[in-house]
Amino acid sequence: MTDEHLRDRLAAADPSADPMDPVTSDRARALMEDIMSIPTVQTPTSAGRPYRLVAAVAAALVVVIGGAALFARTGSSDAPPLVLTAEGGDALASCMPFEVSTLAGMSPAFAGTVVELTDSVATLEVDRWFTGGDAETVEVRYTPGFEALIGTPALEIGQRYLMTATEGVVNGCGYSGPATPEYEAAFERAFDA
């Protein structure tokens, strides 16, 4: 099969034959105006996610079926688990103040829920990558004292955490910890997510 045949075959399954919403439409204008009204100098209150924008500009839509599923495979990823290490220690002794600008330089950064837990390994199922990876799961190999480092009395199955690491080692001192809406908003600001 030649490249051309292959491309034609794939192109025939292209789901987006119907016209796109032009940038000059009322709907697009409203969306852009809403976006441009959001301050870009970040303040401690989150600018919020744009779902409400979408709701505000809902239009009659034609549902595309077919091709969108062509390449789709639900959820599964070929990325192997990301392995991080974490060391407990004298957590409070060496902490710098938490800064969103410092957070922004860290990679990887993700949100995940603990699904397996042993004395030395926590396996997190990632639901959100901010930067630096696309694995479905992350294994954190930790030593005693790690819990304190990330500001929690104990790791728990089912608990969701926001984590960052630097060179494969989980960052403590406020740069990893149990997820809260405020904490996640800080991650969103740091990573423009």
């Binding site: 099969m1 490249d3 292959l6 491309r7 075959r9 794939l10 192109a11 025939a12 399954a13 292209d14 789901p15 987006s16 796109m20 919403d21 032009p22 940038v23 697009a28 969306l31 852009m32 976006i35 441009m36 959001i38 870009t40 996610r49 744009p50 779902y51 924008l53 979408v54 839509l61 034609v62 549902v63 595309v64 079926i65 077919g66 091709g67 969108a68 599923a69 062509l70 390449f71 789709a72 495979r73 639900t74 959820g75 990823s77 070929d78 990325a79 829920t113 199922e125 990632v126 639901d127 959100r128 990558w129 696309d134 479905e136 423009d192 997510a193």
Partner: protein, 185 residues
């Protein structure tokens, strides 16, 4: 005055960016996710572009926008998968995700199914967005060279899978292993 001028400049730059990317971005997203979810992804991507206007590379604005959309799509899939798994645990019955499951070209779909996510995305960028390997790099965050090599391999693998499918008399088996398993049963 200076600040007002900055705001006006920024608006102008964003409007110029939007004029370039908004339509192809919609097409990119709708090709990859159900229409109901596509509008959210486009809006989120435009918002990211607004926030990160200063770092959008002027010579690759659309490719950069594709890369941002790709990240939002991946997060959406993860969240949907997680919600579905959670719901199915609670309700003990299967739930659908946002993705449709209407095969358009079943044989092709089967042939694609054992390729990696990245390989499938390379093929989409090649066949649908008509990008050159050098342009795929910025979208996927890999080098142009890596994109070229991986695309070449993906095409070969897809071609081989389609051949295998045909030899097996139209079986929808997407790989030898599956076909042989079906043969034995």
């Amino acid at each position: 005055m200076g600040m007002l001028q900055d705001v006006a400049d920024r608006r102008e730059r964003f409007e110029s960016l939007a004029a370039e990317v908004y339509e192809p971005l919609q097409r990119y997203v709708r090709r990859r996710i159900h229409r109901d979810a596509a509008d959210d992804i486009v809006a989120e991507t435009m918002l990211t572009l607004w926030r990160r206007l200063d770092v959008v590379p002027p010579d690759a604005r659309l490719l950069w926008a594709y890369g941002v959309a790709r990240r939002h799509l991946a997060n959406q899939r993860r969240a949907a998968g997680r919600r579905a798994r959670l719901a199915s645990r609670i309700e003990a019955e299967p739930t659908s995700t946002f993705e449709t499951d209407h095969p358009y070209d079943a044989e092709l779909q089967a042939a694609l199914s054992d390729l990696s996510d990245t390989d499938r995305e390379l093929l989409r960028l090649w066949a649908w967005e008509r990008l050159e390997p050098a342009e795929m790099g910025p979208v996927l965050g890999i080098t142009a060279n890596a994109a070229a090599i991986r695309l070449h391999r993906a095409k070969k693998k897809l071609g081989r899978n389609l051949e295998t499918g045909r030899k097996n008399g139209g079986l929808s088996g997407h790989s030898k292993a599956v076909s042989q398993k079906e043969d034995r049963s």
